[in-house]
Symmetry: D2
Subunit: 297 residues, 4 copies
C-alpha cells in the first residue's frame, strides 16, 4: 500500500484531481459496487480501475482506482465519508493520493548510468517527479548532478560514522520532504533502523536477474556460470539483502563471446531501463506490496 | 464485441457460471457503479474486471467483467433485469457469455505448424476449445487431423466452384455449431459474403509484422528489404486483405546470415505462438473490436 | 568438443560433404592460416567459419569450420593428413563430423509438450534428426509416440531396479546407434555411471531460468518469490543436478495476476522452444563445452 | 564497405594496432587461407574473424578480421604487400581501419533523447567515439550540448538557404574531420548532393519498425492501425527517404491502453537504444553494405 509514517508531512496535503485510491480488504461480494457507488454519490468520475483477487483460499482483494473530481480534497475530508460508509464495512486498508510530481532522492556511489537516466527523465517529464537532492558516499558524481542543476550532498560512510551519517541522511530526506528514495547503484547497505523508517519507499536496482546472482559481482558470477541471458531487478529494500519485493525485471541476451566487461556494459542499459520502469510504477501509485511480492495495478 | 448473428444457435444456450459480461457505451459517470451494483443485487460475485475509456473526445467506455453466480442463466433471463435497469440508462451494447469450451473450425492449406500446435493445445486443454472439424482446400493435411482424431473435410476450391464451396463451408460451420473459424495458414481469400456472415469470428495468421509486408511471400520481401526482425500478426478477417483488426503480434530477431528458408523456419515458431495467443484471447471473450483495432480486456 | 567414446560405432562411419571440423588448441599466431591452408590444399571449400579466443590469460582457441569436398571421407583419412601437418603442430584436439541427420533418443515422463514438439520438428525436417525410440519410466505417453510412428519403450524405474534399468537403457541406446539423448521433461536423475558414458551427449530442459530455482517445483518457487519473468534452461547433464553447461535459455514475462498454473502453462511454450534450439545447436555440431560453460560457434 | 571519399583526410592516417580488415570479393576456394596466410607472414595475430558468403548463385564473399601487430601501419604500407599478393588474385575490394575513437557529428532538431544518450555514451566510453560538434536547425538543444561541453552550431534551414546551409554543414564536417554523421532525430531531409558526399556514413534513426510507417508521424499511424508492437529502425541514409540499408531494429510491446503520447514515450527508449547499437556497429567497422541491406560482421 506504500503507506507512510507520520514523519512524511506531505501525507496531510490538500490533494488535487485526478485522485488515486488504493484499497485492500478481505475478498467478498459487493466491494466494487460499494466503492464505485460511493464515488458516484461523491461526484467523482472513474477514469481507470484495476483489481486483483488472490487465490480464493487467501481471499484478499486489491483495487486501484483513478478518479476525477471538480474540487481539491484532503485525506481527512475523503475519510470522513469513505471510512464509515465503505471502509469499515469491508475491513479495508486504503490510501488516497494524487498525480502531482513526487519528490525523489537519488542515492549513488560511482556508477552514473542510472543517475543520468533518472535525472534526464525527471527533467523532461517522462518521469513524474522532481529530484531535490542527490546523495552519495563518494564525491565522484557531483558533476553529474550539477549538469542537471541538482544539489549534491556528499555523505561519506565509514564503519565509524555509519549511524551518524544515516541519521543525517534521514534528516535530509525529511527536510527535503522526500516521497521516495531511489538507490541508483548505491553501494552501501542501509541499516534496519533506516529501512524501517522508509517501508516500501526505498527502491533498489540489483544488477542481476534475482534470485540468481544475489550479492556482489553478479556479472562476474553470471560469466562464470555461462548463462545465455543476464538481467536486472528493481525491488523495494527490506532488511534481507536483495530479498525485498520485486517490482520489475528485464533481461538481455548474451553469448560466449561477451566478457565480464561486455556483460557489465550491456547490463547497464538493462539496469537503467528496469529501474526507470519501477520508479514509474511507484510514482503512479500502482504498486501494492503483498507479503514479499508486488502487484502492479 | 464479438457479436453473433442469429445463425449461431449456441447464442441461446443456458450458460454456466462463471459468466463474462462485455459492455460498450458512451462514457460518463456512474457506469461501473451501476453495473457492479446491479450484479451485487443479482447475487453475483465479481471475479475480475477490466475497463477502458477512450480519449475523452471520443468518449467510449468498455468493460469486461467475470462474475460467478450459484445458478445457470440464459441471456434472456439476464437481459430481463439488466436491460431496463442498466443497459438502457447508459445506452449500452452488451453480450453475456460463459467459460465453456468454444467450438473451433480450423482451415488449412499445406503448412501444418499452426494446425498441429492448435490441435495439441486444444487436446491437452491449454486452449479452452474443441475442434470438431479441420477443413482444407488440399488433401495434404488429412493425416495431421487424423493424428488427433479430428474429422477432416476436403473442400477443393477453384475459380469455378468458389461460391458453391463457400456455401458448403458455411453450412458445415452451422451444422457443427462452430463458434469461431481459425485460418491456420489457409491460402484462400474468403468472399465478402462469407466474411460478412462471420463478423469478428474469423481469425487469420499473417506471416509478417503488419502493416509491413502484407500480401504474398512476406519472408522473401523481408529478406530483400534486409530487416533485422521478422514477425507475425493475428487479426480478424475483414474484406480488406491483411487489413483487419490486429489481435496479437510477435517478432523474432534475424541476421544477414539467415536465408529466406531460415526466416520461414524461424517465423513458423512465431506464427504458431502468435495465433495461439490470439485464439486464447478470443476464447476468453477478452477481445473487443473498436473500429479497425482491438482492445484486449 | 562433443567427443565420443569408442562405444559409439558411428564415429567410424564414412562421412559425406559438407563436413564440420571443430578444433580446440592453445591460442597463438598462425592457427587459422594453417587450418585453412591445409583445407585449401586438401581441395576443400570453406562454407562457414566461426572462431573464439578466450581471454589472453587462458589462451584457448576454438574454431568451427564447415567445408565442402567433392568426395566422401573417413575420419582416419582426414586424420592421416591433418594430424601430422596441423594438429600436432598446434597441440589440437579436433573432431570431424558431417551434416547427416543424427539419431536422437527422447526420454520423457508424463508431460508431453517437449516430446510432441521435438517429434514434430524431426518429422517435418525443421530439426535435422531422426528419433528411433522414445523411452519413459511411465506408460502415459505411449500414444504420443505412436501418433508419430515412433517406437516407445517403457522402462519403469524403482529404487530396486535402477541400475538394471539404466543398463537396459544404455544397451538400447547402443543398439539403436543413438547419437544424443534428450531429456524432454524426464523426471528421473541419471546415475554418474550412465552420465559418464554419455559425456556432453545428454541434453536436459530445466523449467527455470538457472541458476535461479534449481531443483523441484521451480514455477511454484518463482510464484512465491514474485518474479516478473520466468524462464527455461537447456543444459548438458553432468553429475551435479541442474549444474551442467548451459546451452540455451529463454524467458517470458509474467505478472502478479498469473497463478502457478499460469506460469506452468506459459512456461511450457518457453521450455519447448528452448529445448528445440539447444537440440538444433547440438545437431549442427555448433556446441563446444569449455569447463562448465558452452560456446555456440 | 563504408568506403571513404578522398575528402576525408583521416583515411591517410597512420593506424594503430589492433587493426580491422574488411574484404569483399567473388566467392571461391582459398580466400580465407590466402588472407590469413598473408597476415601470418606479415607478423599479425588474428583476434577475431567473421565471414559471410551469399547464396551460391550470387557468389559474394565478405570477411572482417581483427588482427594485432607490434607496429603502426599506414594503408599504403599494408596495400604494398596485400594488394599484389592477395587482393588482385581474388579481385578484392578491401579497407583497413583501426580501433581508435571515430569523430561523430550529431545532427538534431528538438527532441533530445537520442542526443543525450549518445553524448553520455561517448563521454563515459561505452561508445568508442568523440563528438566534436552538435549541429541543429533549431537553437533549442544548445543547453544539452553544453551540459556535455560539446560545441553547438546552429544552422537554421529554410527553403531559401537550404543549399547554402548544406554546404556550410559539409565544410564543417570536413573541418572537424568527421568520420560519420548521426541524425539523432534530425527533422530535415538532406539533399542528394550532400548524401552522395557521405555514402554509408550518415546514420538515421526512424521512429517506426520499417518498412511499416515510413514518413511522418509514425506513432500516430501505428496507433490508428492498432498494432500491438512498435519499433525503431536505424539505417544508412540514401536518397530514398526511410529506404536506406537497415542497420538495426528494436521493438516494444504496447496495448490498446497506450495513447499516441504513450507510444511516443515508450518509443523514445527504443529509439535511443536502437540508434546507439547501430552507431556501435558502425564505430566497430562491423557493417558491410550489400545492395540495400547490411551485413553486421
Amino acid at each position: 500500500m506504500t503507506e507512510r509514517t507520520p514523519a512524511h508531512p506531505s501525507a496531510y496535503d490538500v490533494l488535487a484531481s485526478p485522485y488515486r485510491l488504493l484499497v485492500k480488504c478481505p475478498d467478498g461480494p459487493g466491494i466494487v459496487a460499494a466503492v464505485t457507488g460511493f464515488l458516484f454519490e461523491f461526484g467523482a468520475n472513474i477514469i481507470n480501475a484495476n483489481q486483483h483477487s488472490t487465490d480464493p483460499r487467501d481471499g484478499s482483494f486489491f483495487l486501484r482506482l483513478e478518479f476525477s473530481l471538480d474540487r481539491p480534497l484532503t485525506r481527512d475530508e475523503f475519510a470522513a465519508g469513505f471510512q464509515p460508509a465503505v471502509a469499515e464495512r469491508f475491513d479495508m486498508q486504503w490510501t488516497l493520493t494524487d498525480g502531482r510530481p513526487k519528490r525523489l532522492a537519488l542515492l549513488v556511489s560511482k556508477y552514473d548510468h542510472c543517475l543520468v537516466d533518472l535525472l534526464w527523465r525527471c527533467q523532461v517529464g517522462s518521469l513524474n517527479a522532481v529530484v531535490p537532492v542527490v546523495v552519495s558516499n563518494h564525491a565522484d558524481l557531483e558533476p553529474r548532478a550539477a549538469m542537471f542543476g541538482v544539489p549534491f550532498v556528499h555523505l561519506p560512510v565509514s564503519n565509524a560514522n555509519r549511524t551518524e551519517q544515516e541519521n543525517a541522511l534521514h534528516d535530509l530526506m525529511l527536510e527535503q520532504r522526500i516521497d521516495a528514495i531511489v538507490l541508483a547503484r548505491y553501494m552501501q547497505v542501509l541499516s534496519p533502523t533506516f529501512v524501517s523508517r522508509w517501508p516500501n519507499l526505498i527502491i533498489n536496482i540489483h544488477h542481476s536477474f534475482l534470485p540468481a546472482f544475489s550479492g556482489a559481482s553478479p556479472y562476474a558470477a553470471a560469466f562464470r556460470r555461462g548463462v545465455k541471458i543476464v538481467g536486472a531487478t528493481a525491488h523495494y529494500v527490506t532488511n534481507d539483502l536483495d530479498e525485498g519485493p520485486i517490482i520489475e525485471q528485464e533481461v538481455v541476451r548474451v553469448t560466449h563471446a561477451d566478457s565480464v566487461a561486455d556483460l557489465t556494459r550491456l547490463g547497464r542499459d538493462v539496469e537503467r531501463q528496469t529501474l526507470a520502469r519501477a520508479v514509474e510504477f511507484h510514482l503512479a501509485d500502482r504498486i501494492v506490496v503483498m507479503g514479499n511480492t508486488t502487484l502492479i495495478l
